[in-house]
């Protein structure tokens, strides 16, 4: 290889790894998404199956937490009633940044079977909180939820933590809810 990089070329031992800070931060974030222990309806049963030994979401670094303060990920698993929607919003607000939301199943996506005649059901949890990944199904199988989690990991890996966002040149804070 031609000696073009000057003083640091070939100066480091094998144990040194080069990467970007964004890469490392995103890798850390995506590898330890701790979901909040939180289920609303039958989708929560599939979510529990995804956490059990057969599907074992522990291998993705998902460890359920009992409080929103320690959680990075909210999996909205089930029917969001209007009464519950205010609680869901509050729980989301109690989570520390960075925080992510997976909307699991038809009810959380858009009201599902309660779309037209459900007087008490929110028409999609994205009416009250921002959603990163939607997992369709009624309920989705655990594989589908795991695929949604992997999709979220891909999105986190593309996130810009320190680098400026392309369309926000001049701004110091590029990573916001709207443009990540």
């Amino acid at each position: 290889m031609a000696p073009i990089t000057g003083i640091i070329q070939n100066k480091f031992p094998d144990a040194v790894v080069f990467t970007t800070v964004d890469q490392v931060v995103n890798w850390a974030r995506k590898s330890s998404m701790w979901p909040m222990t939180f289920g609303l309806a039958c989708c929560a049963i599939e979510m529990m199956a995804a956490g059990g030994t057969r599907y074992d979401w522990d291998r993705f670094g998902l460890i359920p937490r009992g409080t929103p303060r320690q959680s990075d990920l909210m999996i909205v698993a089930g029917t969001v009633t209007l009464k519950m929607a205010t609680r869901v919003k509050r729980l989301f607000e109690q989570m520390a940044e960075p925080k992510y939301v997976i909307s699991m199943g038809s009810c959380a996506n858009n009201g599902g079977p309660y779309w037209k005649y459900g007087y008490h059901v929110l028409k999609g949890v994205d009416e009250v909180i921002p959603v990163d990944v939607y997992v369709p199904g009624c309920p989705p199988r655990p594989e589908a939820l795991l695929y949604g989690i992997m999709k979220l990991q891909e999105r986190i890996q593309e996130d810009r933590v320190l680098r400026r966002h392309p369309e926000s040149v001049g701004s110091l804070t590029g990573a916001t809810l709207e443009n990540r």
Partner: protein, 191 residues
């Protein structure tokens, strides 16, 4: 006891307060005058031949197209002693439906009556704690009445999908029918 004997016993005790009867059905029932229901409940539980010690279910029903229009409260009874069942019904007017509570006889009626109140607005006089049980406390109206109309918003949250939302759904753009990573623009981005 079979349904016929139960009906005869009730008719002998309460006379014209037992208004209607239908015994040739799967679950035989009688109609009880609304002001008498608490006494009838106490009687059928205490009577050694009837001993209806279990209120299996208490439901509200709305019949706006009957003449005259009416509400009903239906009591499904069961006896663990004699292993027989029976049904009591109470007819109520659709305007300001009210009847005495049976909470004193079957304490499980507490929650069931709160549910009937929550969904139909049926008032159970004498109930120890008559307030909504499922819906939020600030909810307005009685959603299982047949003339219920969805409000447009509840506390700022949309209850009825808009025409635009319906068209998006019919066009297959609804969330949940696209690919996994389909993310619509954040509806609250402007806030």
């Amino acid at each position: 006891m079979d349904a016929k004997a139960i009906h005869e016993k009730l008719a002998a005790r309460f006379g014209e307060k037992i208004a209607g009867v239908s015994l040739e059905v799967l679950e035989p029932w009688v109609v009880v005058a609304s002001e008498t229901i608490a006494e009838v409940a106490a009687f059928v539980k205490a009577d050694p031949d009837l001993r209806f010690d279990n209120l299996m279910c208490l439901s509200g029903v709305d019949y706006p197209k009957e003449k005259p229009p009416r509400m009903e409260v239906v009591y499904h009874l069961y006896s663990y002693t004699h292993l027989h069942t029976f049904v009591l019904k109470v007819h109520l007017p659709r305007e300001d439906p009210a009847l005495p509570t049976v909470e004193g006889t079957w304490s499980v009626a507490n929650w069931h009556e709160r549910e009937a109140y929550d969904m139909f607005g049926i008032v159970f006089t004498g109930h120890s704690d008559l307030r909504r049980i499922l819906l939020p406390d600030d909810w307005e109206g009685w959603p299982l009445r047949k003339d219920w109309v969805d409000p447009e918003f509840y506390n700022g949250m949309r209850v009825k999908p808009t025409q635009q939302m319906m068209e998006r759904a019919l066009a297959g753009e609804a969330i949940g029918v696209g690919p996994f990573d389909f993310t619509p623009p954040n509806r609250h981005a402007g806030e």
